[in-house]
């Protein structure tokens, strides 16, 4: 399931919720639009599907079709070949068929492919500067014209003033409502809340930029919905519709396509008009139903905040004592003291039995651990020693190849443990301290090792002796050079020095 689908489903659900609780015209429009929008192909492409440009293959297919058609159309547009026509214009296929030379008609060649390809690609890539310029020009003219109307026509003028008044009224109403709703002192510092909110906003923005998705738009839509539902402050239709339209525009696939935007706007406008015309008022039945649900919800909320959540038997008993003592005392200070006493009691009583079991188990574990622990290092050491001895046993193996491999690996382990080589490689800086032939002997043994490890040859006893000699020599040198720390390590960590 794609993320966008889930987002859209959530969005639809929220719309339904809003419609249920605040069923005014605005919410109805939003709901209707939401249901219809996915059926607009352009919007769906942007909203629900991946960003891959689905237009291009279509365009290519169209061009191919156009070319294919041209080939066939040409059949009708040939004429007899006249001396002087370019040879390249001869229609060889038809000429061969009809046994006379035919040439393509002249005008067709130029016009056939140009307009078609143009038509195909025009939609995809309009010259961006040109479109921008034109859009700016149109916008400028529209603004000028509207301003003129606003200032010259008295009706428009007064209408604008009335609109301003209404806006002020609305903001007043919102202010009054907010004051009533949030009953806090005015000098309460707001810095913390501001920081938190801005952090949320910034993270949302960052998330959107990172994922390049339309999650922010969706989130904001959901936020506005929740805000409206929670505070019971549904905006009037003329606010909700453009707001919604803005969010939808945001969610549409980018780069924006003129066609897509027009589509979205057209559908929103059409649905708004339809809803306005058909349902000018409030639907009484739905209103009653939502009213009932709200009542029930508030009752439930009261019962939850009034009574404590589920309690087990012991706790409810102590609570019973608590309430009794309260009713007896009837004085506030005394009740307070009683309450504290009872809570202490409660804590004591509520200590369950399994804690005791836990204590016993812990004790047992401790005893076992104390008995076993001192011996653990010895067990471990013994294990390692046995492994090391087993590795040494391979030196005397019947199979000489095996023995050579084991011996050479032992040599390399010595070198690795003392920092003179790693894997099969000797470090060159060690060469200076060695007897002259050591490097050569080492290389020879390496050859032997490779042969023993990778070939199916029968190895001679001599090879084992050679490898053992190298091992002895290496051990001797390294034992002499080791300081006490290295000795300890070699003896008890690496188990090479036995």
């Amino acid at each position: 399931m794609r993320k966008q689908y889930i987002g859209f489903a959530v969005w639809l659900f929220l719309c339904c919720l809003m419609y249920f609780f605040e069923n005014n015209t605005g919410s109805r429009i939003v709901l209707a639009c939401s249901c219809l929008l996915p059926f607009v192909p352009a919007v769906r492409r942007g909203l629900l599907e991946k960003d891959a440009d689905s237009k291009q293959p279509q365009a290519i297919a169209q061009t191919i079709k156009a070319f294919a058609n041209r080939e066939e159309d040409d059949a009708g547009d040939v004429r007899a070949y006249l001396p002087g026509d370019p040879v390249s214009r001869i229609h060889w296929k038809l000429s061969a068929k009809r046994d006379e030379l035919l040439a393509r008609a002249q005008a067709k060649d130029l016009t056939a492919e140009e307009p078609e390809t143009k038509a195909v690609f025009e939609d995809d890539a309009p010259a961006p500067e040109k479109v921008l310029k034109r859009a700016f020009l149109i916008g400028f003219v529209v603004i000028l014209f509207s301003l003129l109307l606003l200032f010259v026509f008295p009706a428009a003028n007064q209408g604008a003033q009335a609109l301003l008044n209404r806006l002020f009224d609305a903001s007043e109403a919102v202010n009054a409502y907010a004051y009533e709703r949030f009953d806090v002192s005015a000098d309460q510092p707001v810095a913390f809340a501001v920081v938190l909110l801005s952090v949320i906003g910034l993270s949302l923005l960052a998330m959107m930029m990172l994922s390049g998705s339309r999650l922010l738009a969706l989130g904001l839509m959901a936020g506005s919905m929740l805000f409206q539902v929670y505070f019971g402050l549904a905006f009037p239709a003329w606010v909700n519709v453009p707001l919604f339209a803005l969010f939808v525009l945001w969610m549409i696939k980018r780069p924006w396509n003129r066609q897509t935007i027009l589509y979205a706007f057209a559908i929103i406008a059409a649905v708004s008009i339809a809803v306005f015309l058909l349902y000018p008022g409030v639907d009484a039945a739905t209103e009653a139903a939502s009213e009932a649900v709200r009542d029930r919800l508030s009752q439930a909320a009261q019962s939850i905040t009034g009574a404590a959540p589920e309690l087990n038997a012991e706790e409810s008993e102590s609570r019973h004592v608590h309430t009794q003592s309260l009713t007896e005392g009837n004085q506030e200070a005394r009740a307070d003291r009683e309450f504290r006493l009872v809570t202490v009691e409660e804590e004591q009583v509520s200590m369950p039995h399994w804690v005791n079991y836990l204590r016993i188990i812990l004790l047992l574990v401790l005893i076992v651990a104390l008995v076993v622990l001192p011996f653990l290092p010895f067990l471990w050491l013994n294990q390692r020693k046995r492994k090391a001895l087993e590795a040494r046993k391979a030196f005397e193996s019947e199979n000489v190849s095996e023995a050579v491999v084991a011996i050479f690996q032992h040599v390399t382990a010595w070198l690795a443990a003392t920092g003179h080589g790693e894997g099969n490689a000797l470090y060159a800086d060690w060469n200076a301290d060695l007897s002259p032939g050591y490097a050569q002997r080492y290389a020879a043994c390496e050859k032997l090792f490779e042969e023993a490890a990778y070939s199916t040859h029968e190895m001679k006893e001599q090879a084992r002796q050679q490898a053992l000699a190298l091992l002895n020599e290496t051990e001797q040198i390294l034992r002499q050079r080791a300081d006490w720390k290295q000795r300890l390590r070699l003896k008890y960590k690496e188990w090479l020095w036995i």
């Binding site: 690996q409 390399t412 080589g421 790693e422 894997g423 099969n424 490689a425 000797l426 470090y427 060159a428 800086d429 060469n431 490097a439 050569q440 080492y442 290389a443 490779e450 042969e451 490890a453 990778y454 070939s455 199916t456 040859h457």
Partner: protein
């Protein structure tokens, strides 16, 4: 190094100096009975090298200079109506009696010609009009591909590049090598001094011997882990094919043989890994690494059964 191959290399070095490693690699590929793709700029001596090899090993040398209008029938031959005999007679193409075929600028050939050549390379035989003609033994193709002046060329697609055993590159000679080359050409043509040191039959025998080298379980395991790791590498889109793994084994065997051994070690695999596998790996579009980086990565991360550590000095 085998003394016979040492001699061959010495002969080839009379005409090409300072390229011992590439010469050795090509001879290794020859021993492994595989084909070589040379990816190179023009004029670094690909043809000279091929001719020198053919003279030193006494191979029958053929050369095809590919252009877009070379046709498959130029390579594999064709049947033509013979009026005298009243039947069709077969006219052999360039592949039929060649031991060493230099396919120059194979990327200039049309794709059908390319595929005809590559098919013949794979099967070691050509079929014309239902009659199958076996090719000469040994049969080695050295194809070259110029990346310079690539206009109007068709680079080999991945599936066909995969059929070459190794992809190599000669590269420019260094100062000393180029000086020596210029000096050598002052007198007689050094090519005439290249003598035949081993016969064709000896080469076939050596090929057989090389293919009988032993790759133990540990080596096969190493090869498998290398190829699997290449398929799972984060920067790689298409990893090393099973054919690549087979070729890697084959080439490692030839490398071991050239070294005078009849068993393969992890070092043999490491030595030939880059040449055999670099052209079989297709990177992702957004990969930040080059193929070389990926190869190094694989060699570094996949554990060598030899325990040989890399990057450390050896005595």
């Amino acid at each position: 190094m085998r003394p016979e191959m040492e001699k061959v290399i010495a002969e080839i070095e009379k005409v090409i100096s300072g390229k011992r490693d590439v010469i050795t690699k090509i001879l290794t590929a020859l021993l492994a009975d595989g084909h070589v793709l040379l990816d190179d700029v023009p004029g670094v001596g690909k043809t000279t090298l091929a001719v020198a090899i053919s003279r030193a090993v006494n191979l029958n040398y053929k050369r095809v200079q590919f252009t877009p209008d070379v046709l498959p029938s130029d390579l594999v031959g064709f049947s033509m109506y013979d009026r005298q005999s009243g039947g069709f007679s077969y006219h052999p193409g360039a592949l039929n009696d060649a031991n060493l075929l230099l396919g120059d600028e194979i990327n200039r050939a049309s794709s059908k010609t390319q595929s005809a050549l590559l098919e013949a390379m794979e099967e070691k035989q050509v079929t014309v009009d239902g009659v199958t003609y076996p090719l000469q033994k040994p049969f080695l193709v050295i194809a070259t591909q110029n990346s310079v002046g690539a206009a109007g060329t068709q680079f080999l697609p991945y599936a066909q590049v995969d059929r070459f055993l190794v992809r190599l590159s000669l590269g420019y000679p260094d100062y000393a090598a180029q000086m020596e080359m210029l000096r050598n050409r002052q007198g007689i043509n050094p090519m005439s001094q290249v003598q035949c040191v081993i016969t064709r039959d000896e080469l076939v025998r050596m090929q057989q011997e090389a293919s009988q080298a032993v790759s133990k379980e540990a080596i096969l395991d190493y090869i498998t882990r290398l190829t699997m790791a290449s398929r799972e590498h984060e920067a790689v889109d298409v990893g090393i094919s099973p054919r690549g793994a087979l070729f890697l084994d084959k080439m490692a065997k030839a490398h071991a043989f050239l070294d005078g051994r009849d068993y393969v070690t992890g070092n043999d695999v490491q030595a030939v890994f880059r040449d055999v596998c670099a052209h079989r790996v297709v990177l992702k579009e957004n990969a930040r690494q080059t193929v070389d980086d990926v190869m190094n990565d694989l060699l570094k991360t996949v554990e060598n059964p030899d325990l040989h550590s890399r990057g450390k000095l050896k005595p």
